[in-house]
């Protein structure tokens, strides 16, 4: 199989700077297992992640949610000894196929982390940098503004784009990181507890961006905030470890409305109602 980015030419990749954006793609995961050395952290996860939908992943600590999400853009293998087995497809493309470049995958499937991590650069450069090193030759000013608008940050920073990104509040920094991810025009955005370090107002602003993001991207979000999952997601996956030392499993996956009103499995209901343990 050839490199998937070669199979599907995309805006900006060839430096053309076309205003045409790629359509969001869904992901299909089949029998995914993840290891840290000999330790199996996650086993046999199969899931369809729908395009232009927000999929929330919930579950107790250590059940493999973050490991799973990091397998979705080949970040897991960055850790020495870490390994993923199984099939992960972006659209029809197996992202673990031999000649697929993981760096290109990580651009098509962007990630926002728990702790905001802006570069020690200006707000403008934080957004422009990733696109520039990817060879974007379009209107960079327009790209930066568009990305900041979609991350709901533009109005707050438009008059100080040359100031350091590190001077922003925590919530603004996180939205800057979202804008930075959007600037390389991904199809899927992975978010690993993006609001867990933020105050309620900043959290609300991040949640408010979700509706906008859903229009153009496929979003997967790990969250420990059950109400956040209920508020913002279309689908919810509950990860669970049945016995101490076992690998994490996808215990139940369904529409969010179902998962938070009448889930099928007792463990899911115990978890979402806070009766766990």
């Amino acid at each position: 199989m050839s490199d998937i980015s070669e199979q599907k030419p995309r805006t900006g990749e060839d430096g053309g700077g076309s205003s045409k954006e790629p359509a969001a793609l869904g992901m299909k995961i089949e029998d995914l297992s993840a290891f840290y050395g000999s330790f199996k952290a996650l086993t046999d996860v199969s899931m369809d992640i729908r395009a232009n939908k927000v999929t929330a992943l919930i579950g107790p600590s250590g059940c493999g949610k973050s490991t799973f999400i990091r397998c979705l853009n080949r970040m897991h293998e960055i850790i020495p000894g870490a390994l993923a087995k199984g099939c992960v497809k972006l659209g029809d493309q197996d992202i673990y196929a031999k000649n697929v470049d993981p760096v290109r995958i990580r651009r098509r499937i962007g990630m926002v982390f728990q702790k905001p991590n802006p570069f020690s650069k200006s707000i403008y450069e934080n957004v422009a940098w990733g696109a520039r090193i990817n060879g974007y030759k379009g209107d960079m000013v327009e790209l930066v503004e568009r990305s900041l608008r979609r991350a709901a940050l533009w109005d707050e920073v438009k008059d100080r784009l040359k100031e350091s990104g590190l001077g922003l509040s925590g919530g603004q920094q996180q939205r800057l990181c979202i804008a930075r991810t959007l600037a390389v025009e991904p199809e899927v955005i992975l978010m690993d507890e993006p609001a867990s370090a933020l105050d309620p107002v900043s959290t609300q602003k991040i949640e408010d961006t979700m509706e906008e993001l859903r229009q153009r991207y496929t979003v997967v979000i790990v969250t420990h905030n059950m109400q956040q999952a209920a508020r913002i997601s279309d689908y919810t996956g509950f990860f669970y470890i049945e016995n101490m030392g076992d690998p994490g499993r996808l215990w139940e996956f369904d529409e969010t409305s179902k998962m938070f009103s009448a889930p099928d499995r007792k463990e899911t209901e115990d978890y979402v109602t806070g009766r766990f343990g």
């Binding site: 059950m226 938070f260 009103s261 009448a262 899911t268 009766r275 343990g277």
Partner: protein
């Protein structure tokens, strides 16, 4: 268990609803007795209970709103609070209807009656009271296995309703029963049918509480299961 306080609040709420239900059930018993014995005094004793039921219903409703605001319930907790609010409404309305019937009994205690219509009324009264009690018992014990019998019992009450209404609008040749009594009897027939429906609804709400499924869907599954059993 985590959220122990919340669970205690839910348990208390559930207890309050069942207590209110038992009060209404007791009122239905008194009403049935007064209907049978034409006892105006007994019936009059229940006049005024409606205000009490409405007050309790409003208090329970308020508790539900506060719990939703404070605890952000989901899944079975959300279903419980939703069901409590719905069941409370059924209880209060059944109580109101019961008071209306008691009022009618008190006002027509000495009136001339139609024995056939009265017999139908008494049978309906027993059926409605039984259905209400069944619905409440199912809710209190969350015993949804019993819920599938409600529809058939309600069909019997509906049949009695048709018969009683027919008697009410087509008096016998002797014209027995005063017009005043006949009008009150027709209204009572209607109220009893509604009380039976409230009992059925309380049972069906319990199916949703326990399974998350609407009764129609649960009943369909139940019927399919029965057919499968016969196929075997």
């Amino acid at each position: 268990m985590p959220r122990e306080t919340f669970q205690q609040e839910l348990d208390r709420l559930l207890g309050e609803v069942v207590d209110l239900g038992r009060e209404v059930e007791s009122c239905l018993g008194t009403m049935s007795e007064a209907l049978e014995t034409h006892d105006a005094e007994v019936a009059s004793g229940e006049i005024g209970v409606d205000a009490h039921y409405k007050e309790r219903g409003a208090e329970i409703d308020e508790e539900c709103i506060i719990l939703q605001a404070r605890q952000a319930p989901v899944a079975r907790d959300l279903r419980l609070i939703y069901t409590v609010q719905a069941v409370t409404n059924h209880l209060v309305r059944a109580g109101t209807l019961c008071e209306h019937i008691c009022q009618a009994i008190a006002e027509t205690a000495d009136a001339q009656r139609d024995p056939d219509l009265e017999a139908a009324l008494l049978e309906m009264s027993r059926g409605a009271r039984d259905l209400f009690r069944q619905g409440l018992d199912i809710f209190a014990a969350r015993d949804i296995d019993r819920a599938h019998g409600l529809e058939a019992a309600d069909d019997r009450v509906d049949l009695l309703y048709s018969e009683a209404m027919n008697l009410a609008v087509n008096p016998g040749k002797d014209g027995s029963g005063s017009p005043e009594w006949r009008v009150q009897a027709a209204l009572t027939v209607h109220y009893l049918e509604r009380i039976a429906d409230h009992g059925v609804d309380i049972g069906e709400r319990t199916v949703f509480l326990v399974t998350g499924e609407r009764m129609e869907s649960a009943m369909r599954q139940y019927r399919d299961r029965q057919l499968d059993q016969y196929d075997d």
